[in-house]
């Protein structure tokens, strides 16, 4: 599969990374190189193989339903680039 520039732009938009034309072109070449190399996986027969999502524990541990956290607004907001009083501020969102 080979990516065209429109696809590169769409992926960049999905990933929320602004790219100029030049960067789109460079990225296209690099991604196609990587994807071409990855393509060899298609040769592996995998019928009937259960996909492996993780390497660790086989089951979740259930936590108790107890309030143990929160009440730390100052710490939560301490690193915010644009704290607005008790909130995080962002440019106005139009829904």
């Amino acid at each position: 599969m080979s990516l065209d520039t429109a696809t590169v732009r769409r992926i960049a938009s999905l990933a929320r990374i602004r790219m100029g034309e030049e960067e789109v072109g460079r990225m296209q070449a690099e991604l196609n190189g990587i994807l071409g190399w990855i393509e060899q996986l298609q040769a592996v027969p995998t019928e009937g193989v259960e996909p492996m999502a993780g390497a660790g524990a086989v089951a979740l541990r259930l936590r108790e339903d107890v309030v143990t956290d929160g009440g730390i607004r100052e710490a939560v907001l301490a690193n915010a680039p644009d704290p607005e009083g008790e909130y995080f501020g962002v440019p106005k969102v139009v829904e």
């Binding site: 992926i11 592996v44 390497a55 915010a80 644009d82």
Partner: protein
Amino acid sequence: MHPTDFTLRGAAEALSEGAISAVELTRAHLDAIEALNPRLNAYVTVAADQALDQARASDERRARGEAGPLEGLPLGIKDLFCTKGLRTTAGSRILGNFVPPYESTVSANLLRDGAVFLGKLNLDEFAMGSSNTSSAFGPVENPWSRRNHPDTRLVPGGSSGGSAAAVAARLALGATATDTGGSIRQPAAFCGIAGIKPTYGRCSRYGIVAFASSLDQAGPVARTVEDCALLLRSMSGFDPKDSTSADMPVPDFAAACGRSMKGLRIGVPKEYRLEGMPHEIEALWQQGLEWLREAGAETVEISLPHTKYALPTYYIVAPAEASSNLARYDGVRYGLRVEERDGDLKDLYERTRAEGFGAEVKRRIMIGTYVLSHGYYDAYYLKAQKVRALIKRDFDEAFGRVDAIVTPATPSAAFGMHEKTDDPVTMYLNDVFTVTANLAGLPGLAVPAGLDAQGLPLGLQVIGRAFDEETVFAVGAALERAADFTALPSVRAGA
């Protein structure tokens, strides 16, 4: 003997004998950092005052008879571990001056056991890289150099390049590191030190900036296998704050370092013999196997048939997870924000992330976003998960026949800072021997075993069964004893 030349074990003994204080030991390391870090760039943050405070407190604890297992030992912390009140960057611009209001479990465990933190160590941005050239804080230099070309600056490997370089150059007795595809073992091998990626789940991931959650594992680098064992014992342990943390007892890893090789069966995977691999690496591998046979082990040829698919699998799984893990860096709650006049929220996201992330991180986010996107999930991501299952199955079958597997750690010695930069895939191939252990979740240890013709260190890798780090340490220590690796890097404290 210069205080920075102690092994971790040696320093612990000197401290307990009163031959040196934690403050003296810490000061010696801070002096070494001041002298050499401008060249090596191993530390991005030096926490001198905090380290000395911790050292004083440690000396007081010792005086009260309350010394912990790592009491007063100065360590470096990879800047991927969140450290409360101490800036944590992940090697990226996008975190800005993020100061975590919490401590990672691994670093908290080390503090609990008395360790002193010298500062935060450089790394590839978000731990994505094999050369430590992608850091927003500049590249790290390998303290080793080529015999014939001493002026060529070499990479320390990555992503834990700062950790490996600092420990090799005696700017720390040991350091924390993380390994997603080889990021502990490859830089350890490049810098002539030991490093272990434990079994997935052995060390808590809580408070470690995530790269690829199903592959990331913390582990130590140090100058000896035993030092790694001592550090890993403190770093490990069940953590209810990480759902993937293993509820398993933590054995005395250091005790395992002395175990006999008699009766052990060592697997030698035929697929790890690569075309074009330097002869020295093949020769070192054979030498290592011979050492183990001499120590009483039996070597057995095994097959791990899906090995060649491990890297392509990794370069689907890791970027996919990374593309999601790194979505939180959006300029809203912490870190860098780049705004434009009259811009909307999407502009803010796009500008912040365009300026905050470096080229390699963007590449991987793009790959990951693509392989998860509609219409490609099955062809890429799901396929990779299935191949990952086959890779694990290969190991399961092999460990039915052998107790540990020994391979080269890397397909080459350290390379120059400006080599291998033209094509991302060439760089990715650095992890060809290490990435399989991440995909299968197995422990892997790199141990320095010899030098190449240029005088650069080469390492061997020991892979073990899940949660059988003890055998891995035993085999690693046996190789270490036989190799008697005494060569030293040209750039080091006290030299």
